[in-house]
Amino acid sequence: MERIPILKLGDFLLVTIQVDMHDQLAITLQDDLTTQIAKHASRGVLIDISSLEIVDSFIGRMLANIAAMSKVLDAQTVLTGMQPAVAITLVELGMSLSGIKTALNVERGMEILSQFTDPGYEPQDADGSQE
């Protein structure tokens, strides 16, 4: 069966979605990812969707769900590399994915994750500004 690989990178888990997501694949990913977070006690999850060209409301909801589940398991989710077309589609579908942190690329995503897991890290106010 087709699976999306989940790579462990220190405290973090790295998921890069390189194929078109279909519903079953998304459900499998959700299962695998929660299992892995629990197993490794990961502090952060980075999902790179730079190769994802098409998205529907189900996939959008799945991404939101994954973020919410990770949160429950005390892992911060960062979504990176979203394509303009995908962003527009999600917005038009009314999904702002407000619970997920986003970054332009994997590099920035990792920065955000390491900030988050930094012991001296203080949660910022809603707009994310750093004074």
Binding site: G81, Q83, P84, S96, T102, L104, N105
Partner: protein, 293 residues
């Protein structure tokens, strides 16, 4: 029985002079067109009309193709010259009177035939006059369409303010089509320049209603989804009032009154700031840049 086109052919000279007389009295615009030009056009049109009417009584038919093309040219050139569409239509319609006069003389003894021919020729001329109006409207539409396209291209520049900071100065009213272009160009510019902060400046947007605000929020949300922060700047006091009165929720959007404020915040967020290179009077130079040099 005599048909009107035969009458027209026979009395072409008289009709032409009658027509021009009619035009001089009614719709003549000596300021826009010379007499010779007008006579030339009238003569050509009358010739084409008489020829076409011989083989068909339908203004939409193949026989009238040449006439229609000629009228289209006339409509276009008259639009350029500054005629109104109704003046162009009247140019054709004023042909009625001289033709009717000629028909009246030719069909004196036969009122029912006269009526038929007046009806047929009048009908044709009405159609042709309407055709000139249609053509004029069509040309105007083309001009409007082209201008709209140009405005769309002109009005959505994405400017790079700093490494990683983009600005999008919006000018003019935002509608759905324009917002779509704005959104797409901003998002693709974010990807191209790898920018983490985008500033949307609405100083040039005259009014903000719920729809415009919704479009802006959508754009900002889409940018956030891609991993870029979006600030809104250039909000005039009147617009701030409108936004609150309309109950638009901009809580999730970072707003600043001026573009410069938003830019300062962007630099701040990137851990950079502006410092004076010399104590006073020497002008401002950006701190990080000075270090690079």
């Amino acid at each position: 029985m005599i048909s009107f086109y035969e009458v027209v052919k026979k009395n072409e000279g008289a009709i032409l002079s009658g027509w021009i007389e009619e035009m001089v009295r009614g719709v003549r615009r000596a300021d826009l067109m010379t007499d010779t030009e007008l006579k030339q056009q009238a003569k050509e049109l009358l010739g084409l009309f008489a020829k076409a009417a011989e083989s068909s009584s339908d203004a939409e038919s193949e026989a009238f193709l040449q006439t229609r093309e000629f009228l289209r040219d006339i409509a276009k050139s008259r639009m350029d010259q500054g005629f109104t569409p109704s003046e162009t239509a009247l140019f054709v319609l004023s042909l009625k009177q001289p033709i009717f006069n000629a028909l009246r003389d030719a069909l004196k003894g036969n009122p029912s035939d006269l009526l038929n021919e007046v009806w047929a020729s009048g009908n044709l001329l009405d159609r042709l006059a309407l055709f000139t109006v249609d053509s004029a409207v069509e040309f105007r539409d083309q001009v409007i369409g082209r201008q709209q396209e140009e405005m769309l291209e002109l009005s959505t520049p994405v400017v790079k303010l700093w490494d990683g900071v983009l600005a999008l100065p919006l000018i003019g009213t935002l509608d759905s089509a324009r917002t779509q272009v704005v959104m797409e160009s901003l998002l693709s510019a974010i990807v191209e320049t790898n920018s983490q902060i985008a500033i949307i400046d609405i100083t040039g947007v005259p009014t903000v209603d719920t729809l415009v605000a919704q479009h802006l929020i959508k754009t900002i949300t889409a940018a956030r989804l891609m991993g870029a922060d979006c600030f809104l700047s250039g909000i005039r006091p009147a617009i701030a009032q409108t936004i609150v009165h309309l109950g638009i929720d901009l809580v999730d959007v970072q707003t600043k009154a001026k573009l410069s404020d938003a830019f300062a915040m962007a630099l701040n967020r990137m851990g950079k700031r502006v410092v004076a290179l010399k104590p006073a009077g020497a002008g401002m130079v950006l701190g990080s840049k000075a270090k690079d040099n």
